[in-house]
Amino acid sequence: MGKTMAEKILAKAAKSRDVSPGDLLDVYPDVAMSHENAGLVSKVFKTIGVKKLYDSDRIVIIFDHRVPAESVKTAEGHKAVRDFVRENGIRNFFDINVGICHQVLPEYGFCRPGEVLVGTDSHTTTHGAFGVFSTGIGATEMAAVWATGKLWMMVPESIKIVTKGNFKPGVYSKDLILHLIGKLRADGADYLSVEFYGEAIEKMSIASRMVLTNLSMEMGAKAAMVPPDAKTIEYVKSVTNKPFDVVIADSDAKYRQVVEIDLSRLDPQVACPHGVDNVKPVSEIAGLPIHQALLGSCTNGRLEDLEIGAKLLAGRKINREVRMIVIPASWKVYREAIDKGYISTFIDAGAVIVNPGCGPCLGAHEGLLAGGERCISSTNRNFKGRMGSTEAEVYLASPSTVVASAIAGKITLPEVSS
């Protein structure tokens, strides 16, 4: 019987020859990532009683959730982590000036096909775009990984997503994954691994693939992967010299479910309050007035997203009733966006540029919402209170829909150039 990507990668990481769904393994992750919650991880680590880290070079710490520190409490937390990093010789530390963890990991060569990556962040599924088995864990579990190098994992069953045809103009990977979440629901992939296939996935940029794997978390996925191809290998080789072994599924692998999506029939989608699986075509709610538009995040803050926004906004202004916030996913992305002139376009259109980081996505700072306000956002969650007031509403859509709506002052279908 053939094996899925999850089965083959976990077997390798557990030094086990043959595994099946339901098997319990001791897995040794190749990369263990934390952000500001490294503060909590290190606090727990110190209680375990081991003198040193299992392997400090597997640990990556990236500040992104509250950068620069928005409060004294956060500043104290940052300081405690910097001290821990220094005392324990952790080399892979990225302070407030690098970017969002899920963008920084690939940029600095930590996403290598065939490996296992764990992170104290639910959207760690993102790195499956590089063929990595990549999943989120809590802080205490991470402290145990720092101490012992391993954690238990149950081998998951897998869902295979197969796209047919190609996207219509104005429809993007964000619309595809929102549609899938609406179809499979918030818990449709709970405990499961997801694999993406199809001509459109093969044609897709790495950045667009990352949108699929990032948001697969919102249907509960334990991991979500795109099989590595020449494009993946070229990118990974451009950022790391470390050798890696590409793992793909066997052609006769066994899946719990196969979902086929006809892209020729897919229209722009929006996730309505207060659940990411409350998905409708944009056309159904077009016309709803908005107060804020947010372009950024680990989901859609990459160069191609900013390019879409800048092209729509060139020579135009954001609606007077709307505040638009733009957050590049990393300083590398920011730098490129400056060089290409996108940032000037955003400023001229009246947008506010915020430094790379998570910004208001998780309700910490830099653009929170008041009660009664409505925001259209390229981010990944619209839970009650997620971005400020519990009386505010967040709608999730593609960068194209977000920017078209910012110009119109209301939720609007993206323009399609002929």
Partner: protein, 166 residues
Amino acid sequence: MSTFRGKTFVYGDDINTDVIFPGRYLNVFDPAEMAKHAMEDLDKDFVKNAAVGDIVVAGKYFGCGSSREQAATCLKAVGISVVIAKSFARIFYRNAINQGLAIMICPGIDEIVQMGDQLEVDPTSGVIKNLTRGGERTAKPLPPFIMGILNDGGLIPHLQKSMKSA
């Protein structure tokens, strides 16, 4: 683990970790301070009304969303003895076990419990009895190795024990 007795707080499906422990408090690492904000965006009276030993009952997919461990820690810090749900999101499931917060999966729990009912729960046998209005359900047993972590009081005590015996 001994038997739990307490009054219930009953919530619906898909209760996410943002409403259990809002993102604005994620820089809080002290359990006593976490306890002040438990369920803040779901039920503002929860912290005021919850007593040590009380029980949270929910529908499917409890604890979905963020990996924030505080969502489990804050409930334990409030004194919640066990969370019983029709199903759990996987990261919350692991976080609860790792924190030594008992959880039970019981698909029929909503049929026998209403807000405020007194329950008696035997975590070993899985039997859940409603002392207020009668009715009984049995939760699905947790795998033995998971019960082992819970019985040791969470992942860190479990790890320390295994390191001592090694």
